[in-house]
């Protein structure tokens, strides 16, 4: 199988409209989660990561007419812009789009956009046509692992030799649709989420988009990160709750390690899903212990972004890539007091450390689990 390199990337979030701004905010422990009034919550509101529309419009007007594109489309198009601008020819580059709910807000609001835009395939066409991609776009809509699974699809296409390059873009909004739904499941924390903490009480939602170019060719004379192992496994347990044994996640990790041809001891860092729900964080602790990864430094960056749903695993992979390149571990924001049934090595302060291999995981509704192994290659290889 061919090697698959992670090349250019962009993150669009409340923390900034470039990867650089995002990494700098995370490094400086700045969170995008802010209090917002909302009648669905007892205390009158909740902490959430919202991208300011005016700021987005201003940035987007540099590349297109903001009145012609929905908020989510603007986020995705902005994320793609610096990547696509560097590619002379988009022929035979598949565009893989990850989202859970796309433009679902158009169904509730009296919007100026036609209702057809709510179809994910229509959203995909808008994004694809804007830049003139030739291949038919592919949407991956697989709950909270979508962003990572879209990378897995791209990786598999490239490793098998089907394509030389692929571009992944992911995004989701915080709509009343998802707020009301997660609230009905009592899954949202009114305060900023506290991954792996004793008094964690649920997720924070966040808006975000990200884009990433994957290629069979490295960049020369710089350090490169490859995606060397991916696997997904269903828990076959419950559609809205994780397995109590962490079976699906454990199996995903084993298979991803197998594909990367490394053992668990070689992992230097874990970027966990860490949503801060009671059940998710506990399930992850069990799965990581079963895999012998309990001593590996681990973080969740949900405290900076909230849960960006279909974008989350993509944003977190990009942060992981830069952690590896910068030899930096970022602290788990809002972590306080440990009470999981198994030990984990939570990163509590930023740290410089030589890093080579990282594991990124994600889990979601429908019982889905995903594991990816990233490797820092030597110069130009």
């Amino acid at each position: 199988m061919k090697k698959v390199y992670l090349l250019d990337d962009t993150i669009i979030s409340p923390l900034g409209f470039s990867t650089l701004e995002n990494i700098s905010s995370v490094k400086n422990q700045i969170s995008g989660l802010k209090f917002q009034k909302n009648k669905r919550f007892k205390s009158g509101g909740f902490y959430v990561g919202i991208i300011e529309e005016e700021r987005l419009k201003e940035a987007f007007s540099e590349i297109g007419d903001p009145d012609k594109f929905t908020k989510l489309e603007q986020m995705m198009l902005l994320a793609l812009h610096p990547i696509v601008s560097n590619i002379p020819n988009l022929n035979n580059i598949p565009l893989i789009i990850s989202t859970t709910k796309g433009n679902i807000d158009l169904l509730q609001n009296n919007s100026a956009f036609p209702e057809s835009r709510v179809y994910l395939s229509e959203l995909a066409k808008v994004i694809s046509n804007f830049y003139g991609f030739k291949n038919e776009p592919i949407v991956v809509s697989n709950a909270c692992i979508s962003g990572g699974l879209a990378m897995a699809v791209a990786k598999r296409f490239i490793a098998s030799g089907k394509f030389e390059n692929a571009i992944v873009v992911g995004g989701d909004l915080v709509s009343d649709f998802v707020i009301s739904g997660f609230q009905s499941l009592q899954a949202i924390s009114e305060n900023a989420c506290k991954p792996f903490s004793k008094d964690r009480s649920g997720i924070s939602l966040g808006e975000g988009a990200a884009a990433l170019l994957l290629s069979s060719q490295p960049k020369w004379n710089v350090k490169n990160i490859t995606l060397t192992g991916v696997a997904t496994t269903n828990d076959a347990n419950h559609i809205a709750g994780p397995s109590r044994t962490g079976e699906g996640l454990y199996k995903s990790i084993q298979k991803a390690l197998g594909e990367a041809e490394i053992s668990a001891e070689m992992i230097d860092y874990i970027s966990a899903h860490g949503t801060a729900t009671r059940y998710n964080d506990e399930m992850e602790a069990i799965a990581f212990n079963r895999a012998g990864l309990q001593e590996v430094p681990l973080n969740s960056i949900k405290g900076y972004y909230g849960h960006t749903l279909g974008a989350s695993a993509l944003i977190e992979s990009i942060i992981t890539k830069h952690s590896l390149l910068n030899n930096e571990l970022y602290k788990t924001l809002n972590f306080e007091g440990y009470d999981l049934s198994k030990p984990l090595n939570i990163i509590e302060e930023n740290e410089e450390r030589n890093l080579k291999y990282a594991l990124k995981t994600a889990s979601g509704f429908g019982g889905c689990n995903l594991a990816m192994i990233f490797k820092k290659e030597e110069n130009g290889s």
Binding site: I138, S160, T233, A240
Partner: protein, 199 residues
């Protein structure tokens, strides 16, 4: 590699086809709710959870019941599913409830991959999953991704599927891909099977 379309199921217009043979039909006037009820009874499924599912999941469960009949299914059989409307019919139900009391039992079905979870639970499949959304049935994508999983990731078999539900219409097409059978797994055969209508 010699991959075969081992078996297929098509559910459309109040009818269920196993391969090219019609095994069940409801009255043309039957709406989706009536059809699902009658088909469930006819196939003798006996799975109480079925009644809590949304239309898309019910269609998927019925389809796999037929596809998996009289067969041992390997727990690592991958599920590669696709459609065009995602979970839009259930999304609309959730939106109706948003002004009033939101039901978590409806909300959990507002993701298309839930159907893949339901099939995994019913059949004990701890396997690779993906849910693609494409404009229309995309034989090339299902073929490519199935081949890659079976050739590069040691996946023993794949169910590739198109499972669409929009307004009153539903269109379910499931194929079991493995190394057994006589029909070659290629784009032409997939298209031919998908477009087959027993008029």
């Amino acid at each position: 590699m010699d991959l075969k379309i081992t078996d297929s199921v098509h559910i459309k217009n109040q009818k269920i086809f196993h391969g090219k043979e019609m095994i069940f039909s409801a009255k043309p006037s039957a709406d989706i709710i009536q059809f699902l009820k009658q088909a469930y009874k006819y196939l003798n499924v006996s799975y109480p959870k079925f009644h809590k599912m949304d239309g898309l999941s019910k269609l998927g469960i019925l389809g796999t019941e037929v596809l998996f009949q009289n067969r041992t299914i390997h727990p690592e059989t991958a599920l590669i599913f696709s459609n065009s409307s995602s979970s839009l019919e259930t999304d609309k139900l959730h939106i109706e409830a948003m002004g009033d009391i939101v039901s978590p039992a409806v909300f959990v079905y507002t993701l298309p991959n839930i159907i893949v979870g339901e099939i995994s639970i019913k059949n004990g499949l701890l396997s690779e999953n993906v849910f693609f959304v494409t404009d229309k049935f995309n034989a090339g994508l299902l073929l490519d991704y199935s081949e890659i999983l079976m050739e590069d990731s040691d996946v023993p078999a794949v169910v590739c599927a198109w499972i669409e539900w929009k307004n009153a219409d539903y269109d379910v097409f499931l194929c079991l891909i493995s190394r057994k059978g006589n029909l070659a797994f290629n784009k032409e055969n997939l298209e031919e099977l998908y477009h087959f209508e027993n008029e």
